[in-house]
Each structure stands twice: as structure tokens, then as C-alpha cells.
Symmetry: C2
Subunit: 326 residues, 2 copies
């Protein structure tokens, strides 16, 4: 399945997902609350999480009709966490549009996030029962714990690879893994099948984030819509830099550590120097190799399913994550 | 059961509730997250909601051993909503102590509220299953909807009695009613028994809030710990004022409406005038009568249970709500 076919399939499924959300959100009473939630949900977004729930469920046969309603609960949880993230970061733009907190202020946006959060969990419980709820409970706890870990890490100059992956696990991978596992669980998947989907989702989430880190250094701003070198300028340690620091000779290491201790203004002029040192120790290539091996492991786990039609898009998605340029 | 016996019983049960929360919260990993949650939970609080869950469950026989774990989910939900409320209101004090947002800032407190919220729902699902989750889903949605209704109402000078009760339903009564209904539901209560507890909880919550409104005008600051007349000074329409405006002659009505349109500074000097007009039309007495009849209806509904030991504290609590002076 090539990227074009994959995107066409995803487009088709995401139209259906959006229709299910449209119908479901009719229960919101307050006009302002409905407006904020619609802004959070329908202002872009790739629907990766609900797509994964649907595809995972399809691996073991036609999924129950209500699987789409279970699937959207993962999009809601994602949207709820973005609403609160943007309040916390005082973010003004997301997906090229003004953030909800910019448009309506902090108060209604915190509350709208709470609503979406509670509604997602109630929906997941109604459709997916205790199995889905246990998965979501663990994933949301992991998301918050990782934010606290990240706050704690932000006080340190140097972050180990282990801590880097610990944050990624909670921040991105836990919810994606839960979306995958809940999908196959909802179609009576066995413990072995569930474990395979958990690995697939976890590794896909980790690889996605590593590629994000690479694009921050190497991406084309015209495609990514973001300036190059944001992470480095903010003093944020991501995998290319972590790999480099672990291998660099003393003097190169000192240069990098010195830059990380400097102010953002001082760092912004030294972007090219950092880039050169990371290249010298193959920091980018090593990070990419790690993303590749995570995805290879994810796909190897799917071997237990034989050749079902839902497998091609899951494999395609893994390749897409590696090849994406935005 | 007199107030003294009642408070002794509640003290005994709340010690047990606190112990269950202590044990449960050991799962929190981040030290800062644990600190914020402990501050939110153990810095005071009357444990009304979990007490009601336990008492409601006891109405139909000895409750299952895990009822206390279901009960604490309601305290968590309450605490989570207070954490977010205090962030939204930039509140600096609660229960005589610095608020969490004052101590640790907005970011970790929004996240801690999210954690507690998600954990409460996962716990309720695990212990109480889909029945408890459906109740909690509806109650949390009602809580947020009522906040939006209140924001909307704040743009208007005059609020109808209907809108006043609509806000109260979501703000206080919905979660208390859910705590009661979940308790008896968890001990295999019938649909009729569940409905009786829903009415009890709803009416108790409404009456509690009406008495709160009365104390704002009539309370002794030395006991309530709050200045008299806060609500009026903020231009907030509560039941005594609503009842008065519905009955007042044109000229008295004009005086009150004029004050409500004035600035808080102008209103603060006219507290005594407003008080006199409310007295003249029996606004306080009418509000109290309504609280009394709500509680009478709550207690009448409990008649179906015969004379079980759990009934006395539920009746006692209704009387306590009416007689409280703080």
C-alpha cells in the first residue's frame, strides 16, 4: 500500500469518524461550550487515534458497529489534553488557527477540556466496558505523570536517553497504544493479539515523536510550518542531541553543554554549530535508525495476524511515519 | 439522632474514608503531583459525598467491602473540580489555607485536576461498573454545563428562579445525587430505591446551597469565616433576592434593580437597604421555607426503606443542613 492509497483510505475513514463525532456532540447544551468543543475537534487533526482503534479492531474480523463510538473517545481525550496544554503554555496558534484560549479565554477552555475528558471516559465505558476504561485510566494517568516528569527534567541541563523515552511513553505513546489495544479488545482479541497491538501502538507513538524531533532540526519550514531548530533554541534535549552527547569527544561535548547552559538568545546564533557537531557523531542517523527499529519491531509483532486487509494500512502507517516530511 | 451524635458518626466514617484515600493515592508516582493531590484532598473538606455513598449503600443491608473505594471517587471528583475552579477564579484561599494554584502555579494544578478526574472515573468504573460510570458521566457533564449557564447568566442583571435552580442542579446537586444513587446501586438497590436516593441527594444539594445563600446575608462572620453580603456586593442574584424581586412593589423593585446595575463599590454601601427590602417581602423566610420543603420531600422519599439504621444519619444530615450556622 503506497502513501497515496493510504492517505485516500484514511481520508475516507476520517470522514466517517467526523460524522460519528458530529452526531455524538449534539448532546452538548451550552452554545459556547459546543463552539469551543467543535473548534477543538474540527479545526484540523489527523484522527490517528480513532483510525488506529478501527484498524486494530478490523484485524480480527468485522468490528462491532459501535466500534466507531469507542474510537472517537480517543480523539476526544487527545483534544481535551490539547485544550489544557494550550492554556498552560499560553499558546496562541495551533494547526494554523487561533487557539481556543486566545479566542475565548482561560475559564471556558479549562471547563470545555474537563467536559470532553469526562464525556470521553463515559463514552468509552458505555461502549468498551471495564476493559477500555482500564486502558484509558492507565493512559491518562501516564500522560499527566509524564508532564510532571517533563517539568522535573526541565530543571536539569542534561537528560538521559532513558528519561527522554520515559517522557515520550506517557506523552504520546501511552494513548496511541491504548487506542490500538482497545480496538482489538473490543473485537474479542486474545491476550496475545492485544499485546501485539500494544507494542505496535507504543512503538508507532515513540517513532512518530522521534521523527518529530528530527524534523525540528532537518525539516523544510515551508512543509512543516515550523521554524527550524526550535527545540535546540529552547534548550530542549531530544534524541539526536542525546545520542551525540553520549558519543562526543570531551571538547565537542563541552561546546554543546556550554550552549545548553547559555540563554536562548545565545543559542539561536549557534544553531549551525550544534548541527555540525550532531552530524559529526551521526546523531541524526542514529535517531532515525532507532525509529526504524522501533517500527520494524512494531510490524514484526503483526505477523501473528496473517494476511488480513487491515494489516496493510497499519504497515503503511508505520512507513508513512518514517517518510513524512511534515 | 442529634447533631452531636451525627457529627461523631460522620467523624468516625470520615477517618475511614481518609484511610482508604491514603492507601489508594500511593499509586501516584511524581512527588509534586502527589503533594498537590494530597493538599487538595487532606486540607479540610467534610467528605459529604463519600459519606452519602456509604450511607445510601447501607440502607439496603451491609454494603460490599469495595463500596468505600467507589465512595472516594466522588470526593476525588469534587476535589478535581475545586482545583480547576480555583485556577479559573485565581482564588488564593480555600478552607483557611493557600490554594494549590497559589502554592504551585497554574500549570501543575490544572494537570493535577486532570489526573484526579481521570483517576476518579477509572476507579468508579472498576468498582461500580457501567452503572456508576453513567451516573458520573451525567453528573460531570451537568457540572460543566451549569458553569457555562452561570457564565451566560452573569451577563444578565436579573436571573429567574428557574435559571437559579438550573445552575444549582448542575453545580452542586448533580454530583451529590450521583453519589447517593451510586451507593445504593452498588448494593443492588431497585429502580424505585435508586430514584428515592436520587431525589434525596438532589434536594439535599439544593437545600444546602439555599442555606449557603441565606448565610451569606444572615450568617455570623465569626462562625462562617466569610464577610456578610458578598453575594449581593458581587451583584449575584440568589434566592432571597429572586423571591423578593418577584413580589416587590414597583418602587422597591426599582431600588433593587438600580443597585444591581450599580458598581460593587456603590452596592457595598447599600447592603442594609437591600436587607431591609428583602425582609419586607419575606425573601429570607420564603427561601428558608423552600429549603425546608425540599428536605421534607427528600425525607418523605426515604419512607420506603422502613427503619434501617442508616436512615437516621440521612435524616439527621437533612436537619443539620437546615440548622447549620457555618
Amino acid at each position: 500500500m503506497n502513501n497515496g492509497e493510504l492517505l485516500a483510505l484514511f481520508k475516507e475513514k476520517s470522514v466517517r469518524i467526523d460524522a460519528v463525532m458530529e452526531a455524538d456532540l449534539a448532546i452538548v447544551e451550552s452554545p459556547l461550550l459546543a463552539q469551543i468543543i467543535r473548534h477543538a475537534i474540527f479545526q484540523g487533526g489527523k484522527r490517528i487515534r480513532p483510525l488506529l482503534t478501527l484498524l486494530a479492531a478490523s484485524l480480527v474480523g468485522d468490528p462491532p458497529a459501535d466500534t466507531a463510538r469507542l474510537a472517537i473517545s480517543f480523539e476526544y481525550l487527545h483534544a481535551a489534553s490539547l485544550l489544557h496544554d494550550d492554556v498552560i503554555d499560553h499558546a496562541t496558534l495551533r494547526r494554523g488557527a487561533k487557539t481556543a484560549n486566545t479566542l475565548w479565554g482561560m475559564e471556558p477552555v479549562i471547563l470545555a477540556g474537563d467536559y470532553l475528558h469526562a464525556h470521553a471516559m463515559a463514552l468509552a465505558s458505555e461502549v468498551g466496558g471495564p476493559t477500555a476504561m482500564a486502558l484509558i485510566g492507565r493512559a491518562t494517568a501516564a500522560m499527566v505523570e509524564s508532564e510532571f516528569l517533563q517539568m522535573h527534567n526541565a530543571q536539569e541541563i542534561l537528560i538521559s536517553e532513558e528519561k527522554y523515552f520515559q517522557v515520550l511513553m506517557g506523552k504520546t505513546a501511552a494513548l496511541i497504544a491504548a487506542a490500538c489495544e482497545a480496538g482489538i479488545g473490543h473485537n474479542q482479541g486474545t491476550a496475545e493479539q492485544r499485546a501485539a497491538l500494544r507494542t505496535y501502538g507504543t512503538n508507532l507513538g515513540l517513532a512518530f515523536q522521534i521523527v518529530d524531533d528530527l524534523l525540528d532540526y532537518l525539516g523544510d519550514p515551508a512543509k512543516t510550518g515550523k521554524a527550524v531548530g526550535n527545540d535546540f533554541q529552547e534548550g530542549k534535549m531530544t534524541l539526536p542531541l542525546i545520542k551525540t552527547l553520549a558519543r562526543a569527544e570531551a571538547k565537542d561535548r563541552e561546546v554543546l553543554v556550554g550552549l545548553l547552559k547559555a540563554t536562548p538568545q545565545e543559542r539561536s546564533g549557534q544553531q549551525a554549530l550544534a548541527h555540525t557537531i550532531i552530524e559529526k557523531y551521526q546523531g541524526f542517523a542514529l535517531a532515525r535508525t532507532q525509529a526504524e527499529s522501533l517500527l520494524a519491531e512494531a510490524l514484526a509483532g503483526l505477523a501473528i495476524f496473517g494476511e488480513t486487509p487491515a494489516k496493510a494500512p497499519l504497515a503503511g502507517l508505520a512507513h508513512y511515519v518514517l517518510s513524512r516530511d511534515k
